[in-house]
Symmetry: C2
Subunit: 199 residues, 2 copies
């Protein structure tokens, strides 16, 4: 293997992908080589297609083949409410649940001093423009309940205060199907504090 730089290069590149390590990268490389026509060629083709065709929506930064994504261009969805998420995968999770009929805005990450991600690295200016230039009535800040996500949420809250819009956040509490015994203290604390009348 050492002699063969293309192959070790493939394994190296694969091993740096999220969720993969050197062992799984080796397994994938061997799997692809074992069946070049049925496994490797389709992967190369679809990567090439995605590379050439998929772009970020110029409004919400979702991914699509067109400049304006199918969610932003869908006239049946409410324009007045924007759900702000960190990543496209969060948007996908919301869409999979089919619980929201407004529009989205993908920040492209969260503020993080450790990784040096500053406000200008996120899609915040385009969010402000959308609020200024369209009839937005509510912004749901749906960043993750992590330190970075919450920092980002408070930063956005400060920025959005000047606009005459409702700013909301997703409820925190016990997830459906969870067992109290397995939940962290922070979740139990917030669930207790946010308890509601049982009727």
């Amino acid at each position: 293997m050492q002699q063969d730089s293309d192959l070790s290069n493939l394994i190296k590149i694969l091993s740096k992908l999220p969720s993969l390590g050197s062992r799984s990268a080796k397994r994938i490389a061997l799997h692809l080589i074992k069946d070049k026509e049925a496994a490797m060629s389709p992967l190369i083709n679809v990567l090439q297609l995605v590379k050439n065709n998929i772009k970020n929506c110029k409004i919400c930064h979702n991914l699509d083949v067109s400049e304006v994504c199918s969610i932003c261009s869908n006239a049946k969805r409410e324009n007045s409410i924007i759900c702000v998420v960190e990543e496209i995968s969060d948007l996908w999770a919301m869409e999979k649940a089919a619980i929201f009929n407004g529009k989205y805005h993908v920040l492209g990450g969260s503020l993080c001093a450790m990784s040096g991600r500053r406000p200008e690295d996120l899609n915040i200016n385009s969010l402000i423009s959308r609020i200024k230039n369209s009839a937005v009535q509510e912004v749901i800040i749906a960043t993750n309940p992590t330190i970075e996500g919450q920092t980002t949420a408070y930063y956005l809250l400060e920025l959005l205060k000047e606009f005459d819009i409702k700013i909301s956040k997703l409820a925190n509490g016990i997830p459906i199907g969870a067992e109290l015994d397995y939940l962290d203290e922070g979740t139990l604390d917030i669930a207790l504090k946010s308890r509601s009348k049982f009727n």
Copy 2:
């Protein structure tokens, strides 16, 4: 995402690779799209290179850029001893340990009634030819200590009996660094039965 067939196709293809599921496939797809130049292009290029250049060695079925791999063509390695392994990853593991100076033979799998892998699906005929046509003195059957690996080992043993060569197998026992408490009964049993004089 649903609207976009290339992207969902990429995720589908990635999710079928070994070690990956739909969640990790999504993460990888988004990671690649996020940085097309630095992440996706090198992957496409190296896949293309590997697809075009890497082939199986016509002697031992290892992978290399040449028809005869660097191990088979290495004059410093002993021709008289062949280590038979199931997969190329097993060959890599042996080479990484740098403990063996003979040649290899990669079977390309193991016999398995459940998956319908028969002797003719493995590189067994080419092994027999090698033994017939070169001065092989010893064959080490290094298939895995699984039911399939052992079935394959016994099948090979029967086949190779007719040749005047030594046939050996790797030792079974307690792996170095293991704790007895965590080992299975089969390993403890074989380690006890194969115990040797302490001197």
